[in-house]
């Protein structure tokens, strides 16, 4: 898969960034979706691509909803449960908009690329111009569509920028097979050619990583 692989799937009623993620996943692969919510993505992957897709979700109400729909989802969290899987158990592990909320993001990434050949990670970009300008101009923690909880109640304890993420991938030796900057609704942003521009104008980063 190259960075020019076109995104083919646009399912109705599915969050657009999930559609972009689904487009990165090969048919009939083994997938683990961490923080899968009620299982929208795994249901989509099972029905349209014949994937063996499973989920982990921390919120028991969401787990119950997913299992009630016949989806293989277990209650658990990224920080504690990834360690229980064997090496290379999956072809893809997905962490959608959750990396910034885990306790040990670096360890979670390491585990993801231990249990899976590839990892798909999306996160809200703290380098977005609105975040930067609000902090600069008001001197207060930014409030944007992507960062919309007050600092004292946000679950997002590890915010990072698209540039930060590139740096971590380089430091830990993960190959970036594909990356996108997208807006909050999950539409692709046109700044893919320049990391600096993407870091300024992309509301979310979406990465397809592979261990080297």
């Amino acid at each position: 898969m190259t960075s020019d692989t076109p995104v083919r799937y646009v399912a109705k009623n599915m969050r657009l960034d999930l559609t972009l993620i689904a487009g990165m996943i090969a048919p009939r692969s083994r997938v683990l979706d961490i923080g899968c919510g009620d299982g929208l993505l795994i249901d989509h992957l099972f029905r349209t691509k014949g994937c063996d897709a499973r989920g982990i979700e921390i919120d028991m109400a969401e787990v119950t909803r997913a299992v009630t729909h016949g989806l293989p989802v277990m209650q658990g969290d990224a920080d504690d449960d990834l360690a229980t899987y064997p090496d290379a158990a999956f072809d893809y592990v997905v962490l959608s908009r959750t990396l910034q909320a885990v306790e040990r993001p670096r360890e979670v990434l390491r585990q993801m690329l231990r249990i899976s050949t590839r990892a798909i990670v999306s996160f809200p970009n703290f380098g977005h111009w609105q975040v930067r300008s609000q902090l600069l101009l008001s001197g207060r923690m930014p409030m944007t569509p992507a960062w919309h909880r007050m600092w004292y109640e946000t679950p997002n304890i590890h915010p990072c920028t698209i540039s930060d993420f590139f740096a971590l991938c380089a430091a830990d030796g993960y190959r970036v097979e594909q990356w996108l900057a997208v807006d909050e609704a999950g539409r692709r942003a046109p700044w893919r050619r320049s990391r600096r521009m993407a870091n300024l104008f992309g509301e979310q980063g979406l990465f397809l990583l592979r261990r080297d």
């Binding site: 063996d52 499973r54 028991m60 787990v63 119950t64 997913a66 299992v67 009630t68 729909h69 016949g70 989806l71 293989p72 989802v73 277990m74 209650q75 658990g76 449960d81 229980t84 899987y85 064997p86 158990a89 999956f90």
Partner: protein, 380 residues
Amino acid sequence: MDQAPPLPEINHQSVLIEGGLALDCGVHLRQLVVAYRTYGTLNAARSNAVLICHALTGDQYVAETHPVSGKPGWWGEMVGPGKPVDTDKYFVICANVLGGCMGSTGPRSPHDDRPGEPWGIEFPPVTIPDMVRAQKKLIDHLGIERLFAVVGGSMGGMQVLAWAALYPAHVFAAVPVAAAAFHSAQNIAFHEVGRQAIFADPDFHAGRYWQHEAIPARGLAVARMTAHITYLSEAALSRKFGRKLRGADSLTWFGDRFEVESYLEHQGSSFVRRFDANSYLTITRAMDFFDLAADHGGVLAEAFRGTKTRFLLVSFSSDWLFPTAQCRAIARALNHVAANVSFVEIDSDKGHDAFLLDEPDFTRTMRGFLAGAAEAAGLT
């Protein structure tokens, strides 16, 4: 209660298994009878069979009026036409466990060497895997190669785990509910209190009470009362009884009885009318022996290596007998072998008993999981 009549003799639907059964303890049971009930219709491909495994004091009458107590089936809310385990779709089988007292071979059955008298206290020790091997012989007898699902709660859940470990190719989906991969020291301790109560009853007669036309009713009732406390939660007891008195608004100091006392008395006295004391000893011991990891070099995951079975694990938040942590340990062991696992903890204040009661989240979960598994199995 002390002069309770002997258990009624009932003709249970059953099958005599050719060749008997070799037990874990080394004894070969020559005479093996498995009593069972079925509901629904086996399809032409014989692919829609669901085996229900009952708990310690349950039996095969899962979805119909009980022949002794006259009460509705013990899982009537879960199993039946249109229910989560839908007998319009699935062929449901439930067998009385080996060692039981509702028609399957157990302490009340004729002794292999002295057919004129029952096994009684001499019935060999059995294990949860022994129970499962006996069920497998029933499934073979019914001509079923692969069970679509094996479902059970508490000791039934232990049997489900043993099924998945012993016969992975014959179980498409497994649903252990409120279960554990081993019986904890606390669980064994409570069982031992019950057993000691039975031993201490003068009517026990060293386990040969049938020779004296007696039953150790008091001891068995106390065993049941103790066990029953472990099935409930503090919150459930408070909600149901609180400190309410029987027949009085406040303490009168003349033989006052709390509601919770008479409730337990009732649980105990109705139990002895349908259950055999030697069976109770045999089955509680089988639960105590259960340790699935120990059978696999101390590593639980090894019990499931290579499994293709789809699992649904369910625990209940207020269950302190088989707590969620036990269930999570099973889930993680299954993760170790990259098994297909769903795991849900149902929020309930009803304790261990919740699996038998009307818990809408639980019934919805069961229905959805089975529907998803049926789709994956091509059963729809």
